[in-house]
Symmetry: D2
Subunit: 316 residues, 4 copies
């Protein structure tokens, strides 16, 4: 959207202004004062990062209602060199808006992004049982389409939409699930790792070595034997044949935690294809509880012990 002077860093996000992704980017202190580049899909956002047009891109990765965002997960799995450097949560609530002067009773056709549309089904069935639906490319585009076309009388949009566009609120909180939240990640090409905070996540993508039964079990044991908890496990088709999957995994902890580093070693030995997507602070800042059996000192003590054996020194 905005052209950046040489010195100004650029951040890409799914635009335009007012989308949930825009809300997520507003949580990034470093993005304040930077140039914001609104793009139309995840591929474009990641292209910006890969080409150097942007220093980072904000992309949605998981929705508490809809699940993993396939396009994002598949893009991260296939574009090498990307790193997640931060995680952000945005509550997902929806409003119904119309052109000024419209009443709820006037609504015949609703413009809405298909995902938003699916999340407001209960409201629509009870309040507007006979409506029609026109799909839109984004939640904000659904709203702005009301201003350029008369195809629809109302649109499903994010709450702040009336701050940016001359539209009228017809109904608020129309989502089926009042606790819905979307998880976003900030992605860059930086290879430096964010500091360990004690409240971190590590994201990886792993392929199983083959189809032998029990392979997934074997993979999960790499985490279990090191006391590493998973907060996300999603299977995604590799795409070459039915029944071939890769796994998108979030681990509790930072690669600077010994147990996480050791689990990654085990995983790398097990799998022909492990992608490290990054270690970064959790959005909820919740400290990871580590059982003392898996503390850093336990790992370094064991290494010292083994080093003594290998070097022929007496045990302490």
């Amino acid at each position: 959207m905005s052209a950046a002077p040489d010195a100004t860093p650029v951040y890409s996000y799914l635009g335009p202004v007012g989308t949930f992704t825009w809300e997520a980017l507003r949580q990034v202190p470093e993005a304040e004062g930077a140039a914001w580049r609104g793009v139309s899909n995840v591929g474009e956002a990641l292209d910006d990062v890969m080409s150097g047009r942007s220093v980072a891109a904000m992309i949605a990765i998981e929705n508490s209602v809809e699940g993993g965002v396939s396009a994002t997960q598949d893009a991260l799995a296939t574009i090498p060199g990307l790193r997640i450097i931060g995680e952000y949560l945005v509550p997902v609530s929806f409003v119904l808006v119309g052109r000024p002067g419209t009443a709820l009773a006037d609504v015949r056709v609703i413009a809405a992004h298909p995902v938003a549309y699916a999340q407001c089904r209960r409201f629509l069935e009870s309040q507007l049982p006979t409506h029609g639906h026109v799909p839109a490319a984004s939640n904000v585009a659904a709203a702005t389409s009301l201003l350029s076309s008369e195809l629809a009388e109302a649109a499903i949009a994010p709450p702040g939409i009336t701050d940016h566009h001359p539209l009228q609120l017809l109904a608020e909180n129309i989502g089926d699930n009042p606790n819905a939240v979307t998880r976003f990640v900030l992605v860059s090409r930086t290879l430096g790792l964010p500091e360990r905070t004690g409240a971190d996540k590590t994201s990886i993508i792993v392929e199983l070595p083959d189809d032998a039964p029990g392979r997934l079990l074997e993979m999960l044991e790499q985490f279990a034997t090191r006391g590493v908890n998973m907060s996300l496990l999603e299977s995604r088709p590799i795409g070459d044949a039915l029944g071939r999957y890769r796994f998108v995994i979030d681990l509790d902890g930072h690669v600077h935690d010994e147990r996480v580093a050791d689990a990654l070693l085990g995983l790398k030995r097990f799998s022909p294809a492990v992608m490290f997507l990054g270690s970064y602070p959790r959005a909820d800042r919740q400290q990871i509880e580590v059982v003392s059996q898996y503390g850093d000192d336990v790992f370094t003590d064991a290494r010292d012990w083994l080093r003594g054996i290998l070097s022929g020194e007496p045990e302490a």
Copy 2:
């Protein structure tokens, strides 16, 4: 689409005529001569089954490129009483069509269902780098929209589209992946189980009992200790909070196979919520190889042995 006389069974499918779902339903011998009811989404198809309007509905459950069809998986997880009674595979290939007289060079805007659009990206980028996209509700709707509106010059559609509509072929096999295939299931309310054929699948949906680390491992061990292989494992958010998942699972084998029945017992004891979605013949008719250690006779021998112990009879 068609009203059924009392005696004629009705099958629901994602219409209209010519969709991939329609192709899948053509593979069902029982549907020949029945009434076919084209509906506009999975929810409507399953409503037909639940209400008794249809004896069965054909729905897409997994795509080799896009992964699990979330709407289907979530519907099966939340609507009780449904059973999968058959599985069908349809190769997914796409054509580009236009109104008669259109040339490829004339195309500015393309009507396409978003999933189909995503699967033809490579062709579009190389042949029509500057095109626009108008989303459509289905692959056939994209094509028929050309006949009622001039918004787009071309549409992405299934190969047979020109058999049913006066449209002209502009390009064939435009999908990125020549081996793409979609898996469909036929769903009914019948509680009777299809016969065991030796080439069967069993579908279930399972929730983990709680968030304790290692729970997923524990669940998978229920299969591993009985030699039961999984051909599908998908996590889907339960929807009430981030980080809470249910698992959609396909097992090799029929619930009439002792090892599968025993694994289901183990799973039911482990999980507070197991849904049995059905045992049914695999689309590919590939016989399941069972290691002799997990054969039916091994299970019945063990039961006979235990029965002898419990009844105080001498061991044979």
Copy 3:
């Protein structure tokens, strides 16, 4: 030792009167008033049971210091048709005795069963550093040998020895470990199972199906996936080649507990050779804590659920 009139049941034990085995048999209420037959080794005791000469035999199976009694474990593994019907604990303490008039300072040579001798090493090294050792066939035989031969001046014997023989106490509690205890089992050919008391043990002997890596792990998972705890796991060579073992196992619980019965089923399917040695009340009468996940009702509920699926009934 004693001939039994027809109506009197006979119990065999490692004699003579005064041994630890005799102490164990004194804990059996049913043996009161019965004929007691003192024998000279485990093989003889089990022969008595197999031939019908005795209704039951008391045999030592494990010592808290020395470990499993190999002869007992191997006999149980190779003689079919035996059942453990009770478990008894006897504290193991030793005294040093001599002929009347002997003083500790007079002792040059000590008669002792090798196991007892090994358990009193610390006392002997500090009090009689230059003694010699004459091996004896049992603890009581060591003591009575003093009365028939002058080879030794003292003997290691069980505490009650001076009640039965004209010997003099030279030192008490000479065992290295004050908490030493020996575990005995009462063995019969009864196939009826002792009642479930809630504080039970189940004993089995299992061979692994082959030498493939991970087999032992696979065996242990049969218990872990049903919440069944092991209180004993001993490997014993099968005897045909180095590296081939069978496992002597005690489980917490009774075969009438659903989780134990199900674990035995799993084990029987896994192993070519499982011997069920019995379910019987624990000597310590300590109730087994069962996690609610593995309660009997969980097993019967799961079976009811599966039965509903197999019979085509709607789920409750």
Copy 4:
């Protein structure tokens, strides 16, 4: 037995000349020309090593018929600083010998070490059904007792006994199991590790961290997840209470093998008490087959990969 001049290294073994342990020591090239010190039990042999009287001691650790030698295993578990530096196998066969002029028919009482006696039961029962038994401290002592006492007419002894003593062969190969073999280890205080040969064993002793169910399973997973096979697993009571065990374990491979070193690290983190007893060439010189997934290069590649991540270098 023999006093060593300052420059001559001393080897201790269970004497006297002619025992199976002596046969084992004859297999050690370094022991040729050294002083051999015959001792009377394992404790004495290890004392020699600990005190520096001997450079090494040969001790029996496992018998293919009788199982682990408890005294050896317990000594290794409780004496710190010992290392196994070699493994040797001696076939175990027995002869029956008498004083010159004795015939088999004259034999009334047999002198025999209890273990040897137990291994010849079948021969004795069929040929000398009414014999008596006098226990002896070793196989050779049984034979030599014939020369100093008339208590017995015959003795069970190792095959070479008539080379060393004026005794007469009454019967050969009288052991029940023609394939019986005893495994010996050479123990020293050297901390230097024997070279890796590709046909190595690593011996360890491990205590479980606590009594929680599944702990043994957890321990075994440390090996399974690294493709490390166990050739020996023996439980030995720790001795302080019933139900508390340590495990004597032999692993295939050398601590210089990456997978073995990594398994030891995992074990050390898991267990409060791991004793490393040594890595040494197998007696049978059989090369260990390592699945390529667990080769050394797989471990070093994984470490290189992780190092790249930690240092912020791009992935190769």
